[in-house]
């Protein structure tokens, strides 16, 4: 009752208030990012394009992981297998790309992306068919993908052709424009923008906000959920390829970091865990915020492990505040 009334009231209300409510959080994240960036550039003695490069290198895989997680959360699910799928793609690319020419490496990367999307679709299909909660299925898949990654590469190793590494660590036109950042924007423009306001994107949001209502309005719920996981798998694949390009090696345990941090970046970026809320622009900024916090701590001379503790604590606090925000919103 009250939500319906609030909905009507929101429609009558002037546009600025609604815009502020819908995009306030995202704008806030960008302001936070800006503040952190301004603070960050004062710390190193000779802050320059090199620092910008290394920030882009550190944040690129997490930004893709956050996109992967966000797409799934928006559709009303959660994907705990993101991290280990990233590991799997990472070790596959590092193991086989090392002796390839640039052209073959790119083709192989493309193949891995298709495979990664198929892996995501497989997870989604399992969830839809089994009717087991997303968390259980993706938790099981976490171990399946991690096991496969460990089977393929027991210890960190492998590599990639130099020209492929340039994709992650190089720059375009000027040293101030990291190529990783450009690839991130390209992927966003190619894989998300055309979908966001088209049929599949809208279906994603409707299924995420109310599955029954979506079904009754003729949205293919099962198809949409599988599509969300497939798109998530695609972004996870991009994260895995980005990880190989930025780190230069494959590591079967590298993906662990991204399971929690992708969720954190999604929540910090304004994607509500209940589904149907948020976008990908916020989580991308949030991924940079999460990375910057750690970078700043380490630049400040904080021990690597303490940085992990502080970062983890901050993430928990952020999620707690997010939880309170949801409660407040539900109350009003």
């Amino acid at each position: 009752m009250s939500t319906a009334a609030a909905g009507v009231a929101a429609r009558v209300r002037p546009n600025p208030a609604r815009l502020a409510r819908r995009h306030g959080w995202t704008v806030g994240v960008y302001v936070l990012l800006l503040v952190l960036l301004l603070y960050w550039q004062t710390i190193p003695a000779n802050w320059g394009s090199f620092d910008v490069q290394s920030l882009a290198i550190d944040a690129l895989p997490l930004a893709f992981a956050a996109m992967a997680q966000s797409v799934v959360i928006i559709s009303g699910g959660i994907d705990l297998s993101v991290g280990s799928l990233i590991s799997l793609i990472n070790v596959l690319s590092a193991k086989y790309m090392i002796d390839m020419s640039f052209r073959n490496a790119l083709l192989f990367g493309l193949l891995l992306l298709v495979g990664s999307a198929a892996a995501g679709a497989f997870t989604g299909t399992l969830i839809v068919l089994s009717r087991v909660p997303d968390i259980v299925v993706t938790l099981a898949m976490l171990f399946v993908w991690a096991g496969l990654a460990l089977e393929i590469l027991q210890i960190p190793g492998g590599g990639a052709p130099q020209s492929y590494l340039q994709l992650g660590t190089g720059h375009w036109w000027s040293p101030w424009i990291p190529s990783g950042l450009m690839i991130l924007l390209l992927a966003f423009a190619i894989f998300w923008l055309p979908l966001r306001w088209a049929r599949p994107g809208l279906a994603l949001y409707s299924v995420g906000s109310n599955r029954n209502a979506a079904y009754l309005s003729g949205v293919g719920v099962a198809r949409t959920r599988i599509f969300a996981y497939a798109l998530g798998g695609l972004f996870a694949g991009l994260a895995g390829l980005a990880l190989s390009a930025t780190s230069g090696i494959g590591d079967p345990n590298a993906g662990q970091y991204y399971t929690l941090n992708s969720v954190a970046a999604a929540v910090l970026g304004g994607v509500a865990l209940v589904g149907g809320v948020g976008g990908l622009i916020g989580p991308i900024a949030a991924a940079f915020v999460v990375t910057l916090v750690k970078t700043i701590l380490i630049l400040k001379g904080v021990d690597q492990n303490w940085a992990q503790v502080i970062q983890g604590t901050l993430i928990i606090v952020v999620v707690m505040i997010g939880g309170l925000a949801i409660r407040q919103r539900a109350r009003t």
Partner: protein, 333 residues
Amino acid sequence: MSAGTPQIATPAARLRAAQRVLSDNPAIALTFVFVALFVVTDIVNRAQSGKAFLTPTQVSTTFLYAAPLALLAAGQTLVMLTGGVDLSVATTATTAAFVSSGTAHDHGTGYALLLALAFGFGIGLVNGIGVAIFRVNPLIMTLGISSVTLGALTIYSQTRFVALVPNIVNTLGSSRFFKYVPYDLLVWAPIAALIILGLRFSGFGRMIFAVGDNPVACRLAGVRVWQVLLLVYALCGAFSAVAGILLVGFNDAADLGIAAPFLLPSVAAVVIGGTSILGGSGGYGGTILGALILTVLDSLLTILNASQALKQILYGAIILALAWLYARTSSGD
């Protein structure tokens, strides 16, 4: 019960009745699986090395190995009954392992064990505060706490401290009395009895089921849901700490990865035991059988020379298959 049984039982009806009995009492099927798995392992072992596996010593070893897992899964069962999941049990156990072996030399055994339990309870309490009061998704809360704890433990493990595993912990974790009875049963059995009886007969136990089944109805009925959740997560932390103490007794030294291999099996044991991941139904009896089954399965895979990677994949597949099976049987009625 017998009033609904039809007079003339057709084969199909009999099958349905059998299915009903099995889905109501998963313990029957699980005991069967446990025994069958033991026999299969025996056959495989005889074929490979000519030695029997179905011996009193091996049965006793299985119980010895299963105790830490079953204790981790004990807390996990309580949490999953409320509809949550605790992914910090492994790091909490590791914390207890470090605390109990790191402080025993300076402060004595009793102090070390109490401190380890207090740490477990405290970590669980933090999880509970996040989940119960701030309504954070349990998965994210516990995963976050686990990464914070691991970071803190890494720092602690790099400091200089005299590590000493107390004798009593060593005995509890690795020895047996009367030749076949593992000492860790002395810890595990009372806790198991307490949980099984407590879930069944105490008000708090019933509230755990009620909260997992329908938190909104609980709140409306006057149950303080947040208090129930808080205590459940704190208890889970304490049980994990007990498991960590047994593990450090078994391994004779604490390391950062001491409990990590038990994280997924702790969830798997609960799922195998028939506790619904959505909460509200299940119990600890099934979990115990789940832990025993996983322990025998682990022995079988070790005999078959399976790699750690293959084991991981298999555990994932088992969780998935069983969750699917239970989802099917529960949606049938």
